[in-house]
Amino acid sequence: MTQAVDDAAIESAVPAPDPMLPRPFRVFGRREDTADTVTLELRPLDGAAPPFEPGQFNMLGRLGVGEVPISISGDPTDATLVHTIRDVGGVTRVLAAAQVGDVLEVRGPYGSGWGVHDGHGGDVVVVAGGIGLAPLRPVMLRLLAERSRYRKVALVYGARTPADQLYADEFAQWREHGIDVETIVDRGPAGWRGHVGLVTTLVPRIDVEASQTLALVCGPEVMMRYVARALIERGVPSERIRASMERNMKCGVGVCGHCQLRQFFLCVDGPVLDYSTLAPLLDVREV
């Protein structure tokens, strides 16, 4: 007796990929962004790179060394996986030293995205500090690709010095697409003509309809706290402000608890959370 077998039944019989199982990716592009930060372009050895949403992260590692959570900083429509890594010692030092041809282990993508589409029809403000522009670069690329879906779009980016700015060579293109890119540094060398000061000082100057604005913020936690306050003072509703939180992600699937922030496991509930949820937690010590 023959039995009809439908495709769905076959598909469900194939075990889903183990989310804890790393896949090998080869480095085929490497760029030194700043003195301590590199961008790696990776391609899988065993198939296609998984799709991701801007804001998600991967566990990136090297056998025998360990793994760390690194946000994805590439184009969501591109088959290439892009990670920007800052060398702060330990595993990141090994990853940042990876050369073209080396093989790294990748698990993911994990976590929540920025939900950029929630800004359709309104204004979008992106505020980044330091390495915090890396998780927001996929947002910028999506905003460029869907520029007509948004009204005003602005990027405010703070860095230590002009030489510490990430992706500075892309700013001109972003401006050409009607994105207001404002940068500010903590220290300006002689001849620097841009802004010098705290990133929050630019927030009141952003030309947007605040009540219709989606604000996406990433940077050092202290910076995000002050930026969120400045955005609220500017009139952006707190539930329309989203921030990407960094904690000690380990498993990536909400099991181990290393990334717990009060009631949230940031690897699955975050890293992107809205500020109305985050605000009470950011003021609590040692959470």
Partner: protein, 153 residues
């Protein structure tokens, strides 16, 4: 052409002052333009003025033995520049350089101090505005002292 008190009325810094107060303050002010690269004042010089930036950008600088000039902060249109005219010894502590061609309103510090002494209500209102800006700059400076982008905290 708009008068000085009309110009001041458009600036957030003076928004809380009434017409009489603005007229008094405007009597101490003149319009000036500074070309890009020109210095509004230099470290150590007598501080007998303060400035409202109408257009352009001004950099506050200091010198370092090894690095030359370092820009500490930039100020843009709508911001005020200069506190040293308020308290003795009335000397600038930094250099101020026009980054772009810049339009400014220049206030005579001695004239303003005299009017504030004569009219304490005006003095109090003006000092409240000054204190508000000073507080915002102090708080921003404190956050910058954390060197947030330098090492993960």
């Amino acid at each position: 052409m708009r008068s000085i008190d009309q110009l001041l009325r458009e600036q957030p810094f003076f928004a809380s002052l009434d017409d009489d107060a603005l007229a008094l303050i405007a009597g101490c002010a003149v319009n000036r333009h500074a070309r890009a690269g020109a210095y509004l004042f230099r470290d150590g010089e007598p501080a007998d003025t303060f400035f409202l930036i109408r257009h352009g950008r001004v950099a506050l600088e200091t010198h370092t033995p090894t690095g030359g000039s370092v820009v500490i902060e930039t100020l843009d249109a709508g911001e005020v520049l200069g506190w040293s005219w308020i308290v003795p010894p009335y000397r600038w502590q930094f250099d101020a350089r026009a980054v772009d061609d810049t339009s400014i309103v220049v206030f005579d510090g001695a004239c303003l101090r005299g009017k504030c002494d004569d009219d304490p209500r005006l003095g109090y209102a003006l000092m409240q505005q000054v204190a508000q800006v000073m507080l915002a700059r102090l708080q921003a400076t404190r956050v910058r002292l954390l060197d947030l982008y330098g090492v993960p905290l």
